[in-house]
Symmetry: C2
Subunit: 176 residues, 2 copies
């Protein structure tokens, strides 16, 4: 019985680790987006940082913009247009005050990532042939359960990026 | 003369690239901090993301918190205390509205990294023996020219981190 308890404990502990390693949100083996056929790229959370931002208003998020190796190289070398194979990831978290930090600062000034919002993950994937009709970019958006945005929403991506045509339709600048 | 002009052009172009590759701020070959002996760790800008934050008030910055491989592994596995060799980097940029993004959104909502502030770079380095007197952590802060903070400022680091003792004196939580 003791051994069984130990084994059960080990299984529970292991399940805990596995659950941590594969969180419900951000899973990389999910559905492809319905227009551009993009899935969540495996390992995107290990990519290097391009920049950070805060969107107020309805979005009310804190966000990190990460890039795969091709993206980072292009950004650092100022290469435009971005080469095929570039992937830019945008992770957003809801924008929440940090009570524990504010206690230390002695006033309300600290805002940190909260829960993942509906617009949790976005990706821009460069393939100048495949996505020629949308500036060479495929767009994808996933919620925290890995579910892609629908066609209607994805159709709004490219028109919104057109004002950044001079920078190959990418808004985010590299933060040194 | 044509050849000289070409050569000069090439030299200027090359100088531009070199200037980009080795920006004045964030240089890794500078002075060590006067209490803990920490230099800016080479390659810190390539480290993976732990989290992001916005500090309002006097700091008024957007910040990214990055970790070396030991830090990221410890965060993801929930290891406390952090193992020796852990380095946590904090990069801050001044918090500025993005006029170009706001035009697209149709209202003032977008805040992005501006110029590097005086408190541009901070590092926490774990060495439980060397830094035993300050919870096992060495603290360092550098301005955009790579100049370390003075002793008086560095002495304020550890006392401020004491409220986070339960999390090994580290405020930042991992953002999934």
């Amino acid at each position: 019985m003791k051994r069984l308890t130990f084994l059960l404990g080990a299984v529970v502990a292991l399940a805990g680790v596995v659950a941590y390693m594969a969180p419900a949100f951000g899973q990389a083996d999910g559905e492809a987006d319905p227009i551009f056929g993009i899935k969540i790229p495996p390992g995107y959370r290990d990519w290097r940082l391009i920049s950070v931002a805060h969107e107020a208003g309805n979005l009310n998020d804190l966000r990190a913009i990460l890039g795969n190796d091709i993206a980072i190289k292009a950004y650092r070398e100022g290469t435009l247009p971005f080469p095929d194979g570039t992937i830019i990831a945008r992770i957003a978290w809801s924008y929440v005050p940090s009570e524990e930090n504010n206690k230390v600062f002695g006033r309300a000034q600290s805002f940190v990532p909260g829960s993942p919002p509906d617009w949790y993950l976005q990706f821009m994937v460069k393939d100048s042939k495949k996505y020629a009709a949308t500036g060479g970019w495929g767009f994808a958006q996933f919620n925290k359960d890995g579910k892609p945005a629908d066609e209607a929403m994805l159709k709004t991506c490219f028109p919104c990026h057109v004002p950044a045509k001079d920078r190959d339709y990418v808004f985010t600048r590299y933060a040194p």
